[in-house]
């Protein structure tokens, strides 16, 4: 790595840290702008009890001090107690939901990436054939379908009509449909990405040179074409994770998966503000970090790319 790359990476890290700070700050002040106070729903809170509650949650301090407390809490991954789920910390709820969500998310990520690359490569190699046409039509359809619709349709087809898979995410094998739902969109996107970049690479001079030197078709594809056509896929890792995170919000709702997405949606409908803040910050950090990693990887993998 030359000094330019290093300075790019450093710049990128500073930018990511700044973004994280912006997310935390926006979340805090946006939540403070909500009219009324978190204890408004409590039945007949006496002024003394209210003062005690506010003191307990640190709400009696000046706004800026509350902000600093929140910021330092967020850095230590401590978002305080949940307002609606008695006696539970936001962090504990998040960790609890993460177990299931991470499992679904990671499997969906792998499935989407591997099958996307595979389909994309096949489509590019069999360009304009019937297989290519089918793959392109399918992926175009999947790309224009919102995740909640994809999930609902899969649910109707496989659970209700055919009865092959359970509709409830907590049942055995119940995570298969959520994973497929989450994977279909990024898979289609990666397929299209791989196809177009593969077609681009296959037309390059070095492929012709390799072929002219008598390298076998298999080696040309594996060593020369595939490697280079996968570079654009790396840049998609960040958006892919962002899609899976936001997709999990609705998918977990549809299939009743006890994950972080469902906790987030329930916290919104239940106005559990500390939980909303905590999940937003955690999910946003995930996305920002993944964007950072995929940007740096992109730069490290392909030295031809010059970034400012």
């Amino acid at each position: 790595m030359d000094s330019k790359t290093v300075s790019y990476i450093l710049k990128r890290i500073v930018m990511a840290v700044f973004t994280l700070w912006a997310v935390i700050t926006i979340t805090f002040f946006v939540m403070k702008a909500v009219p009324g106070d978190p204890f408004a729903s409590e039945k007949a809170v006496t002024p003394a009890a209210r003062a005690a509650l506010e003191a307990k949650y640190g709400l009696d301090k000046p706004l800026f001090e509350q902000y600093l407390n929140y910021l330092s809490g967020a850095i230590h991954f401590d978002f305080g107690p949940s307002l609606k789920q008695r006696g539970r910390d936001v962090t504990a709820i998040i960790m609890d939901g993460m177990k299931t969500s991470a499992k679904i998310g990671i499997i969906a990520l792998i499935v989407a990436t591997v099958s996307g690359i595979l389909f994309g490569a096949v489509a590019a190699l069999k360009r304009n054939s019937i297989i290519d046409r089918i793959i392109m039509v399918m992926t175009t359809a999947f790309v224009s379908m919102p995740s909640f619709i994809m999930g609902s349709l899969l649910l109707i087809l496989f659970s209700i009509q055919l009865g092959w898979l359970p509709a409830n995410g907590a049942a055995e094998g119940g995570l298969i449909l959520p994973i497929i739902t989450l994977a279909l969109y990024p898979m289609s996107y990666i397929t299209r990405l791989t196809r177009s970049s593969m077609l681009d690479v296959l037309g390059q001079d070095y492929i012709r040179t390799a072929k002219a030197k008598g390298v076998s078709q298999r080696d040309v594809l594996l060593h020369h074409a595939l490697k280079n056509s996968l570079i654009p896929v790396i840049t998609y890792f960040g958006p892919e994770l962002a899609y899976i995170v936001t997709g999990s919000l609705v998918v977990e709702q549809i299939f009743a998966v006890p994950g972080i997405g469902r906790a987030f949606v329930n916290s919104i409908t239940g106005r559990d503000y500390t939980l909303i803040m905590g999940t937003t910050v955690v999910l946003a950090s995930l996305i920002v970090i993944m964007n950072l990693v995929s940007d740096i990887l992109y730069k490290v993998v392909d030295p031809r790319i010059t970034l400012e």
Binding site: A16, T19, V23, V34, S144, L153, A242, V245, T280
Partner: protein, 353 residues
């Protein structure tokens, strides 16, 4: 040497005779002068996929606008609830083309009753008109959100492009930060907070009729989605100012007004229109996503997303109620995307390399 060889060349003297009038007429091909817009339309209509999706979108839009005006049922009317009569629950959850008991009685008596094409929902509302009305809401939200994005992005983008210097730097850094924020999470956060804040602020004003949730959706679009438009317009302004043809026009003495009219606008407008058109499906996407989470339009107003979300409760017995709005959303988004791509290919050949 060269001169020596000249006479040996076979020369047909006929080629050097002046052309007759017929020959002249034959050589000149009269073609009506074509404008940029005509050229683009010709290319657009030649593109079958884009043309078909344009027709589909136009049909959907026209029926979303006009069908509610002539339909005998309204989207919020609970058919079983009539003043002065006990609630007739046989209106609820009708299957497609099915009639309630009292309607069946009227049909048996020889009256004609307008059918419930998609049946009715759990509250006895005609489902077909709800889907049509929901389509109208979704299309309107997509359209106006894109206009808002266009206005905000164009204003800030052209300010950044023309002013340059420190103003440009500040605007572009803001763009960078907003760009790197995870948009969907921020949208959900803002939507969930804004419906609380706006609800009381809007009370009694004209905007209250639209509903606090839609207004907050527009505010969110104005806050978060202007970035790519601003970047695009700034880039256009910066690059167009440096173009050789602008320099050439200036050198031949063209006035600023002429340059803007003949060079800058035609080169810029297609890019702007195309990215606005492509913004519409993404706005519809966002709206349906938020409606699905319960952050979209205010009840009883339907949008395609909220219809799908409501249908999830009765999914095992009434799955068609989910399939119908789902198909409509997919059709609209797919149609708009394909049409937008077609527009881009037709009006901006530069982008399509």
């Amino acid at each position: 040497m060269v001169v020596d060889k000249m006479p040996n060349m076979p020369v047909d003297m006929d080629d050097f005779r002046p052309a007759t009038e017929e020959e002249k007429a034959y050589m000149v091909q009269m073609r009506p002068s074509s404008t940029f817009f005509k050229d683009g339309c010709r290319r657009l209509f030649k593109n079958k996929v884009a043309f078909v999706s344009m027709i589909v979108i136009i049909l959907i839009t026209i029926s979303a606008i006009f069908l509610p005006m002539v339909w005998p049922y309204s989207y919020e009317q609970q058919l079983g609830v009539q003043p002065g009569k006990p609630v007739d629950s046989s209106y609820n959850n009708l299957a497609p083309m099915e009639y309630s008991k009292s309607e069946q009685a009227r049909i048996d008596a020889g009256e004609s009753v307008f059918p419930h094409i998609f049946g009715t929902d759990a509250a006895g509302r005609d489902y077909f008109i709800r889907v049509v009305y929901g389509t109208r809401i979704s299309l309107a939200v997509g359209f106006f959100a894109s206009i808002i994005v266009l206005v905000v992005g164009m204003t800030l983008g052209s300010i950044a492009g023309f002013m340059g210097g420190r103003v440009d730097m500040v605007i572009m850094r803001i763009v960078d930060v907003i760009y790197s924020l995870p948009d969907m999470l921020m949208v959900i956060l803002l939507a969930s907070v804004m419906r609380e804040t706006l609800g009381s602020a809007l009370e009694g004003t004209v905007l209250a009729a639209i509903g606090s949730n839609i207004i907050s959706l527009f505010v969110i679009f104005a806050l978060l989605y202007w970035c790519s438009m601003a970047r695009l317009i700034r880039g256009q302004i910066l690059s167009l100012r440096e173009q050789e043809y602008v320099l050439a026009a200036e050198a031949t003495g063209a006035k600023a007004g002429w340059i803007i009219k003949k060079h800058l606008i035609p080169n810029c407008i297609s890019v702007i229109i195309i990215s606005t058109a492509l913004q519409i499906p993404s706005a519809i996407f966002t709206e349906s996503f938020l409606s699905f989470l319960g952050l979209g339009v205010n009840a009883p107003m339907p949008s395609l997303g909220s219809l799908a979300s409501e249908a999830l409760n009765g999914i095992s017995s009434y799955s068609y109620r989910l399939v119908i709005p789902a198909l409509v959303i997919s059709l609209i988004v797919l149609g708009l995307n394909l049409f937008g791509d077609g527009l881009r290919d037709a009006f901006d050949p530069k982008l399509n390399q």
